[in-house]
Symmetry: C2
Subunit: 655 residues, 2 copies
């Protein structure tokens, strides 16, 4: 049994006002477009252009070749659009009042020559190559939005569009083919047409008296349904974790989550972490297919469950989004992960390729699309990009640190200028592995520990008898032992004499088992029977120290990179499943996170899954995820000559 | 047994000089782009723009929104390009010396500001919206070309590109992912990437020391192969006929045909013509799947045969082209053909949708593309568009008539101004059906008939004993009987007295069988045993008269439409399988074709198959096929109030 997916800090989605978006603090820079250079780097800043938006009166700085529409969207300036910047709706009309913005061929179709001369352009076609002043007309429609992620408001602009149309039946005088008849009614869209849609078109048109609903995903006509089905359009957001897989069914019309289901990743028998699963593939060529099949079966089972729970036909799910680390996503898609597991640690690709839901083994609409996220590095994958999106790391002026703690720990530091990221190999301590009485976060696991005058207070999952210690319990236990002085700053248990002198109420728990010093957290039935109790060993403390040193070395180096003091951070976001159960106070005490006020340490929850929802609900957010690939600078720790010294410096606990 | 595919008039393909292209007579107008209006019509001419090409000194008139590159290509003006106008190679540099051609974002990447100011543009991005004068630099490379179709030279520019690249292996200092590493070496292409290619990429790169060949079809990276495989790229052109299916394997690097195989369409048991196959689907919903499966199995079997014959791996076939009438193509793709078979006769679509070879059931490269042709009407399908392309009907200044004779007869008349088309229901007479001693063109069929002083001279397929009369024999027989005076102009056999008076050597063959007058072509063993002989009945003659009247009414009306005298036509092209075996002299004598010199009646052969080859060999020709959709004006015969009178006028034979 598992604790299930961690809670999310975002409110439940619904249709809400978007005024918050207008006032949201926004970073001054916009991300470069998805098609830009493959290299990340800081030199982009030198070439940035300024855009002044009126009447908002906001000036933003953007890298060259950003599309104006994206720059506005990214900075909370709302521009009318129904296609989300795809160049099909021709609604994103703005006027360039200063600076050079060449006329494109689409502009010539959207505007009269006089309007072009007056500076009118389609914002989605203006590639920023000059400082610009831009006049944005008032919105014609007030867009719907949903709350999602870490306090994020997402204006609903799903890639899935449904259009109900009534067509005139053909006659000898009007022999326009079925498809062209339909497309003429969708003339604001420039779609390509799937054979799947064409196969059923004749029957659907004739059986529904030419009243049909076209289903368009991005710019592809994937199906035509009889009658008006515009109210029914669904998507599934997947968080494909190494440990847990979570599926959320979303109503794409309202943004509301309709059902959530989760399960353990059935790849577990091949190893708890990504490295052991990659190793399995390296040792046995057939393992790739089996691991791939297991991932697909999990996704498929969850898709069936969320649809059944909400009474939605799987065929009404037209798009899915999958957030996962690089290994999980490559395995699920049948892409050999071996290069991820051995130096020099190479991704198959930064950028997601076009995949269908069926490529993930999903039996939803047969032509449903699948969105995946770009990966920044072998160990900073799509799950982190998704999490950064959900956390708004890319658009917050404050200095914030994002930490996703696990066997591999991903750390991202953002300011209003830059985003820097690294990965730290924290090891399996937080999973309860390599800890003598360690266990996964399951019933019987001690997950919180308090030491006080009245002894030891334990929180146990499922309120059962303590059976072991999970990661959050381990962190709590060590933090408390440091606090009460039974562990010194170097991580060594104090002498029994010293314990008895200072903490007589706990001293009899500090004992030895064989050669090793241990602290007993929960006695077994027989007092004094240390071997059958739940205890913490000196070696366990060392394991935790190594893990926390890896992490704190990571954020220390990132802070230096941005030239900020760790203590001056505005916020630390603890992401991911483990982070959700960690006590901020204990994390601070151990030095796992920088020394800031505990209230500034925020449990962000399952941000990877939240980012997947955002990608489904908004093509702009999806573009934002792609932009993160360009925006985030990856800092490699393993090739730093000073890494070992820095690591040793971080082993002691803060005093 | 079948006579096999008809001969083609085009020479065998090979690498030849393209100077012929430069001097080829070209129509003054270019076709509009594929994305333009769905309506055909003559009003486009009013809005045409003039383009003056220098140093060629040619002025052409084109409809608005044509791309300059296409306009040049279409008029035989060669502009450098390796991508065929896809906007990826940036080689099609020209200078606009007069008229307005807006700078596009691609231009800003291809040219310095000075060059842009001087009028330099990429021809493939200039959408003609003004009268222009254009300077075309000399060709850097002399393109390869192949002879194909009716004397057509096709500059080889297949959609399939192979690129051999040597990549630097990754290192800790160079962690660029596999895909981005490859794409950086293909930076003149902007490709999307198939999951299929990504799945094998890691292994292929590492097992071939990072020396690989990228396979790109259009703008899609479909595969990556170890080592240098650039010499091996193949395509298969299919002529998917109602009666016969023909496959030609082409070397896409040289244009050479490597193997040809054909077979009878296995859908025959569902009926000989398209209407009976559509009826089968209407009567039995399961028939669509069965007919579809039969078509696919035929294509698949032929693909295997041509690959085996030429020693080509099916996985090296990256693209196929399928030319067929609308019913055959819809059936093969599993698109319900019912609306084609009942008034008002509606196509699924004018424009081909994107399909893969696997959608046609082909086991070639798993991501091989399939090209199909646009369809002008329910009975003027992709086979005709393909045939028009192969015949150069769209680029010849002369007044030419294209006739594809079959159960349904397609007729197209072209001048330097317009292309008009119609379909005439000729009935099954030419297939030997509804003819008393009729049979298909198979061994034993009389295919030529000569009447002279020494009696009857017969050509029999397979040099066997005469067993029946096929379509070409029927035409010959009736034409000869008219010539020698045994049939009068109204189509009636003359009296026995008259026969004996004028043609004593043939008179004993003009006899009766039961109530009906017949002419015996081949006596059975027993002289006088008419019933067991091969003969022509008065009713057979009537059947042929109805067929020829349908056809000649068609071309008469088209000639009126263009205001030309039928006798002034420069050329009549007889297309299709049946046309290949028809005697031009007999066709003229019967009035099946206009009264012109027999030398001006040209047997064009299997032009549908030739057009399919052209589409495989050149993306420009493929664009030309799409342009025909806009260019050809369809003339509906069935709603003309004077059709019946015109038809009756055409029943007699010319005198």
């Amino acid at each position: 049994m598992d604790r299930g997916p961690p809670p999310t800090s975002g409110g439940r989605a619904g249709t809400v006002d978007v005024s918050a978006l207008e006032t949201a603090a926004a970073r001054s820079g916009s991300p470069p477009p998805a098609g830009a250079s493959d290299q990340t780097g800081a030199e982009g800043d030198r070439a940035r252009h300024e855009i002044r938006f009126e009447p908002a009166g906001r000036t933003v700085r953007v890298p060259p070749r950003v599309m104006l529409f994206d720059a506005a969207s990214w900075n909370g300036i709302a521009i009318d659009s129904t296609c989300g910047g795809h160049g099909t709706c021709k609604k994103c009309k703005i006027r360039v009042t200063a600076g050079n913005a060449p006329v494109t061929s689409l502009d010539t179709r959207a505007f009269e020559p006089d309007a072009l001369r007056a500076g009118w352009r389609l914002a989605c076609r203006v590639e920023v190559a000059d400082d610009l002043a831009v006049e944005v007309p008032p919105l014609v429609t007030r867009p719907k939005a949903a709350s999602v992620g870490v306090g994020r408001k997402v204006i609903l602009r799903p890639a899935v569009q449904k259009r109900f149309v009534r067509l005139a039946p053909p006659s000898l005088a009007d022999q326009v083919p079925d498809l062209e008849r339909l497309l003429a009614a969708l003339d604001d869209l420039e779609v390509t047409v799937e054979l799947h849609a064409l196969r059923s078109l004749a029957k659907v048109l004739r059986q529904s008296d030419y009243e049909v609903t076209a289903v368009v995903v991005d710019d592809v006509l994937v199906d035509v349904e009889p009658g008006d089905t515009t109210e029914r359009a669904y998507g599934i957001a997947f968080d494909l974790g190494t440990t847990t897989v979570v599926a959320t069914l979303l109503d794409l019309g309202t943004g509301a989550p309709l059902a959530v289901e989760s399960m353990l990743n059935p790849q577990q028998p091949f190893g708890a972490d990504v490295i052991s699963r990659i190793s399995a593939v390296m040792l046995d060529p057939g393992a790739l297919e089996r691991l791939s099949g297991l991932a697909r079966s999990a996704l498929s089972q969850l898709a069936g469950e969320v649809c059944a729970a909400a009474g939605v036909e799987p065929g009404e799910v037209y798009e899915v989004a999958v957030a996962g680390n690089a290994t999980m996503v490559q395995l699920a898609l049948g892409i050999d992960p071996e290069p991820l597991g051995v130096a020099p640690f190479i991704l198959a690709t930064h950028r997601p390729t076009t995949v269908l839901a069926s490529d993930f083994g999903l039996s939803v609409h047969p032509r449903a699309r699948a969105v995946t996220f770009p990966a920044i590095g072998a160990y900073v994958g799509g799950d982190i990009v998704s999490g950064l999106l959900a956390s708004g790391m890319d658009r917050d002026k404050r200095i914030r640190l994002f930490i996703d703690i696990g066997t591999n720990c991903e750390i991202v530091l953002g300011s209003d200028e830059r985003l820097v990221a690294t990965a730290a190999p924290a090891g399996p301590a937080f999973e309860g592995a390599a800890i003598r009485c360690g266990m996964r976060a399951a019933p019987g696991a001690i997950e919180t520990v308090g030491l006080g005058d009245d002894g030891v207070t334990l929180g146990v999952i499922g309120k059962e008898e303590p059976a072991g210690l999970c990661g959050s319990g381990l962190v709590d236990a060590v933090a408390e032992l440091v606090r009460v002085g039974l562990l010194d700053a170097s991580g060594r248990f104090v002498s029994e004499d010293e314990a008895r002198a200072h903490r007589p109420e706990l001293a009899d728990r500090l004992t030895t088992l064989g050669q090793e010093r241990v602290f007993v957290l929960a006695w077994s039935g027989e007092p004094g029977d240390v071997g059958r109790s739940v205890y913490l060993t000196q070696r366990d403390v060392r394991e935790l120290q190594f893990a926390k040193a890896a992490i704190s070395t990571g954020w220390t180096i990132l802070c230096e990179e941005l030239g900020v003091e760790p203590s001056s951070l505005a916020q630390v976001l603890l992401a991911g499943s483990f982070g959700s159960y960690l006590s901020p106070a204990s994390a601070i005490r151990l030095g796992l996170v920088p020394p800031i006020g505990a209230l500034r340490v925020v449990v962000a929850g399952n941000v990877a899954g939240e980012g997947a929802k955002m990608a489904l609900l908004s093509v702009r957010e999806r573009a934002g995820a792609m932009a993160l690939l360009e925006e985030v600078e990856y800092v490699e720790l393993s090739d730093r000559s000073d890494f070992n010294d820095r690591f040793v410096d971080q082993l002691p606990f803060p005093t």
